[in-house]
Symmetry: D2
Subunit: 343 residues, 4 copies
Amino acid sequence: MKKKVAIVGVTGYSGVELVRLLLTHPSVEINGLYAHSTAGQLMNEQYPSLSSICEQEIQVFDAKKIMEENDAVFFATPSGVSKKDAISFIQADFPVIDLSGDFRLNQEEYEKWYHSPACEQKYLDKAQYSLADLERAEKHYIANPGCYATATLLALHPIAQTDWFDVESIIVDAKSGLSGAGKKLSETSHFSFISDNLFLYKQNQHQHIPEIVQKLQTWNEEIPYIQFQTTLVPATRGIFISCYIKMKKELSEQDIYDWYERVYKGKKFIRLQNKNTLPSMKQVVGSNYCDIGLSYNSTTHVLTVVSVIDNLIKGAAGQAIQNFNQLFGMDETLGLQLAPVFP
Amino acid sequence: MKKKVAIVGVTGYSGVELVRLLLTHPSVEINGLYAHSTAGQLMNEQYPSLSSICEQEIQVFDAKKIMEENDAVFFATPSGVSKKDAISFIQADFPVIDLSGDFRLNQEEYEKWYHSPACEQKYLDKAQYSLADLERAEKHYIANPGCYATATLLALHPIAQTDWFDVESIIVDAKSGLSGAGKKLSETSHFSFISDNLFLYKQNQHQHIPEIVQKLQTWNEEIPYIQFQTTLVPATRGIFISCYIKMKKELSEQDIYDWYERVYKGKKFIRLQNKNTLPSMKQVVGSNYCDIGLSYNSTTHVLTVVSVIDNLIKGAAGQAIQNFNQLFGMDETLGLQLAPVFP
Amino acid sequence: MKKKVAIVGVTGYSGVELVRLLLTHPSVEINGLYAHSTAGQLMNEQYPSLSSICEQEIQVFDAKKIMEENDAVFFATPSGVSKKDAISFIQADFPVIDLSGDFRLNQEEYEKWYHSPACEQKYLDKAQYSLADLERAEKHYIANPGCYATATLLALHPIAQTDWFDVESIIVDAKSGLSGAGKKLSETSHFSFISDNLFLYKQNQHQHIPEIVQKLQTWNEEIPYIQFQTTLVPATRGIFISCYIKMKKELSEQDIYDWYERVYKGKKFIRLQNKNTLPSMKQVVGSNYCDIGLSYNSTTHVLTVVSVIDNLIKGAAGQAIQNFNQLFGMDETLGLQLAPVFP
Amino acid sequence: MKKKVAIVGVTGYSGVELVRLLLTHPSVEINGLYAHSTAGQLMNEQYPSLSSICEQEIQVFDAKKIMEENDAVFFATPSGVSKKDAISFIQADFPVIDLSGDFRLNQEEYEKWYHSPACEQKYLDKAQYSLADLERAEKHYIANPGCYATATLLALHPIAQTDWFDVESIIVDAKSGLSGAGKKLSETSHFSFISDNLFLYKQNQHQHIPEIVQKLQTWNEEIPYIQFQTTLVPATRGIFISCYIKMKKELSEQDIYDWYERVYKGKKFIRLQNKNTLPSMKQVVGSNYCDIGLSYNSTTHVLTVVSVIDNLIKGAAGQAIQNFNQLFGMDETLGLQLAPVFP
C-alpha cells in the first residue's frame, strides 16, 4: 500500500520539486499540501506547470490533521519554521523529513550562524543529519543536508578520511544557480542584475559552513575548519564545487583516484568521472546524481575535486526522498530514476 | 513482453532525448543505438549525462540487423538520410517512426522547400503524417511532425475548422530556443552571438511552412497560405508560437473560448489555459504538453493564440513515442508522464 | 559654455543611463541628481559601476533649486510623477525632457490606458511628443517617446505614409528584454522565472498602443488601430519589433525597399539594412541606432518590417539627449557617438 | 596630428573591440584593417554592428605597406601568427602592440606551454611585457598581457610584494565568459551546451599560468608557483578572479586593506572597493576598469581577493590602447573614458 505524505511549505522551490518527484514515486501518495501565504489556492494556480497534474488545494498548516491522515511529513519551509512547527511531530514520534536548516546544528552553532534562537537541545537530539549516499536514515526526524553541504561533503568524503593532506588547507570555491536562493525577490535575483554577472556573497558567513565542518570532523577530527566561498552564477539550477586541497608530497594521482573509486564503488547516485575528466554542471541537472572528478597538480601538490549536483534534487527534494525511502525500508532509488535533462 | 526498438541518429538532440524518455517507458527496451560519425563510441562518451544510465555502444547503421533484432525503429537523423536508409524498412513493412522531414511532404513540395530530390512517391504514399494528439497512428511508416508545425497546428486546429475568420489573414510569429537547430555548430549558435540576442531567420523559407499549410488545408480547404516567421531566442529548449487571426466581426471571445474547450476536451497532452491567461514557454519544458491560450481584441478583431511546447519532447521525441504507443496499441501516455521541470 | 542639467529619478535604469551617456557629452555638465527613496546616498552607492566616475549625492527633489542652478531638467521618473512635479517647470517655461508617459497622450487617452487621472489639458498642450529622428524638438516640454513606440513608429513611418497597404492589417509582435520593465522586483523579473522563458504580457493593454496609433494617424488618418503584442525575452537590453502589414497586390519588393531608402536617407541614427537582410537585436545594443530590415512575401503579400533598438538608449536616455541637443541647437549626435557593444 | 594605426587580425573579438574603442580615440586614426580569411570583405559585413561606423575594407596582410602608411600596428591575431608576421616590424624598430601570447614568455616556457616552436630569443628580447596599470610601456614591441593574467596579477600585486603570506599557498579560481575563448566554434561554445552550465577546462595547463608566475616572481622571487584553475561561465564578457592566500597569523584585515589602498592610490583604472565589499563582474563590463575587493577570514587566515575585468577591454583591447597611449606619450586614458554599461 502507498505511503501517504504531506508537504509543508509546498510553494517554495524545494516544495514544488518534492511534488514533481513524488508524483512519479510508485509507493507514495501526495495527500496534503500546506503553505502559509498561499493557503486556499490550488497548486496549479501557483505553478501553471502543474495544471492537470497536481491541482490539490493548499491548506493552512495543521499538525494534528497531518498526523492523522499521513505516514510522514516533509518540511520544505524557510529557515525558522520547523523549529517551531515540527515540535509536535517530534513529541508524537511522527516521521519528519526536514529540508530546512533548523535541525542540522547544535544550539550554539545554530545561534552563531543563523542569528536566531535555536530550538531546545532535547529536540535537536532527536534529529539525524543524514547524507543519504553515505549513511542510512534511521531516526524519525531527518535533518536533510543543505545543497552546498551535500556537494561539498561528497567531494571531500574520501580524502577527508585519509592523512594524505594538510588539514588546514581545504579551500572550497562553490558556485550556485539562482534557484538555490529560492523564490524570494531581491535586487540580486533580478534578471537584469544577475544575467551575465557573477558575485560572491555571504563572505565567510554562509550557514552551510558549520554543517560541513561538523560532518568533516566526524570523518577526521584533525580538520579544524574550511575556507568556503559561494559565488552566484547566471543559471537556474545547479551547484558546481571546486575544492582545493594541499596534498603531502609523496602521493601519486593514481593513488588518489583509486581511493575515490574504492570509497564510491556501488554508490548508485555518485558517478566518479574517468581519470582526468571533470564534470560539467549541466550533466546532472534534472537528476539525483552527484558527479565527481579529480585533477592533481604535481607541481603545486594541490588536488582539485569538482562535484556537481542539481541543487533542487540531490541538494534538496531528491535527497529528501532518498532519505524517506531509506526510513521506510524501500529501494532508495524509487521516484529518483531520472536521467539528467540534457541539453 | 517489452517491445525492442532501435534508434538511428542517436547522437543528435532528438536521438538522445528518445533515449532519455524511452529509458522510463515500461514496455520498451532500447536494443540498438545507431549513428554515423560516432559509431564505435559508447553513448555516455558522447553524453556524460548518461553515464551509468545508458552505456550502450553506438553501431554502424545496418537495416537488416535492426529488423532482425527489433520490433520498431526510430529515425532521428538529419534531413536527407531516411529517404535513403528507410526504404528497406518500407519494403519489408517494418514499423518506422521518422522524426525527420523526409516523408512529410509530397515530392513536389519536398523538392521546392528542401532543395533536394525527394524519394519516390510510392514510398511517400506509405507514410502517415500523424499529429499524435489529433489522430491515431496506423500506418507502419509514421512521419512525425516538425516542432514548429506541431505547435502551430495545435494552436490553429480548432479555429481552422470554422468559417469565423479571414482565411488569408493567418500570421504566425514563432520563437524557438537553440536546441531546435540541433548540435551543429554555426556562428549563430555561438553563445557570444545568441546570448542577449534575437534574430529572425529563414524568412518565408522555413521548411515547416508547407507541412503546416497542407495540414491546415485538410481542415479547411479555403486557407490558401500562412505568413510564418521564425525568430531564434536565447533559450535552450522551448517553442513559443503567437498566431494572429483576423476574425469576422460578430464573434465574442466567449464563443471562441468555448469552441477551443470543446475541441480539446479530453486531450491528455493539450492544456487549454483559463480565459485570458496565456502560457509562458517554460511551463511545459521537460514535458510532452502543449499549452494553449487565447486572447481576443475586440477593437482590431484579431484573435491571438499562443501555444508553447518543449521542442525536443512534444516537438520531436515525445510525440514520436506517443505515435509509437498508438501504433502498438499501448496507452499513449506511457513513457511520457513527465511533469514540466520548473523552475 | 556647458549647459547644466539636472536628472530627476536618477536611480532608475533610464536615469542611470542618462548619467552614463551625459558623462561623455562635451557640452553638458551633470549638475544635480534627484530621486525619492534614495535621496542622501551617493550615486556610486546605488551603482558601483559608477565608482570614481560619478559620486554625486542624490538629492531630494526641489523644483526651485533645479531651475536656479540648471539650464534644463530630465525626468526619468516612473509613470505618475511628472504630471505633478513638472508643473512648476511648465509654468516657468523651463526646459524639460520627460522620459515618462505622463505627457504623451491627451487626457482621455491617458486616463483610459494609464487608469489614473491625467494632468490638466492646458499643460498637456505645452508638450511636444518628439520622435527625435523624424522631427525637431522645439517646445520647452518634450515628451520623449516610449521604447516600444519608438521602435514601432520608426519601422512603420515610411510605409504608413503610403496607400500601399490594408490599413486595418497592421500587426506588431514586439519583444523586449528585462530592463524595459525597470528595476522593480516582480515574480516575472526573477532570474529563475524568466531565464530560458518567454511570455506575452499586457495583452491588448500596453500603454504604448495609443501613443503609436496617435502618431500613425498624423501620417495616415486612415489607420484605425494596430494589433500590438509584447513578449518578454531573456535578455537584459534590447527591443526587437516584427511588424506584419498586408500589402496591396501589385507591389514589388524593390518598390518598397526603395521607398524606405528614400525616406531614411541621411538619417544619422537609422540604419536600413541591405535588401533581404534583417537585423539581429544585439547589433544595436549599447548605441543610439535603430536598425531596420524588410522582407516581402509575394505569396501572402505580407511585408515584414523588423526594427531593433537598445531600449535604454534609443528607447529612452539616448533619444532624450538627442531631443535635448535639438532643443539647444547643438549637433544632435553629441554624447551619442557610441558604436554598439558586440559581442 | 593624429597617429595612424593598423590592426592585424581585425575580425577576431579583440580586433573588433580595438576598432570600437579606437573610433572614439581623439588622437588616433584607424588607417588599415588586416585579416587573413576575411580579406576583401568590408568590416561591416563581418560586424553589422559597425554599419555606417566603420566600413573599411579588410586587406591582406602586408608588413611593408603597414609600415609605410602608419605609425603603429596592433596584432590581435591568434596564437602563432605574430611570432612570424611581426618579425619585420621588429627588424625595422616599428612600434607593435601585440595582444597575442607569442612574445610574453621566454623560449623554453613558450614551447612548454604552447606546444609549438618559439620565435628566436633575440626577438623575444625586444619585447616588453607591460601591465599598463603598473608600469610604463617603453619598448617598441609591447607584449600585451593576457586577460586572466591581467586580472590575477592586479589582484595579487600588492600582497605579492609582502612577506605576509605562505608563498606556496596561492590558489586562483578564475571564471570567464565565453568571449574569452574567441569566435571559434566548438562544442563548448554552443549555446545549448554552455547556457545554464559551468565547466572547468585546461586543468593545470592554461597558458596564462607561466605568464602570471614569471611576473609574480619579479615582485617576490620566493613564490614558486600558483594553483590556477579556469571555469567557463554562461556570460559573454567578463572575468571574475577569486584568489585565496594563506596569511601568516598576526595580520589584521585593516593592515591588508591599508596596504592595498596605498599601493593602488592614484591608479586611474583600478578601483579598490570599500572594506568588506566585493565587486560583481558586471560592474566593469564595457569599461577599462579592474575592480578589486578583499575579504579576510580570521578563522582560516585566508585572504580572499576578488578582481573583475571586461576581458575584451582591460584584458585585451583596452589595455593595448593604454599601452599605446603610454608609448606615444599621450594621456593614458584617451579612448578609454568609458563608464561600464550597467545594467
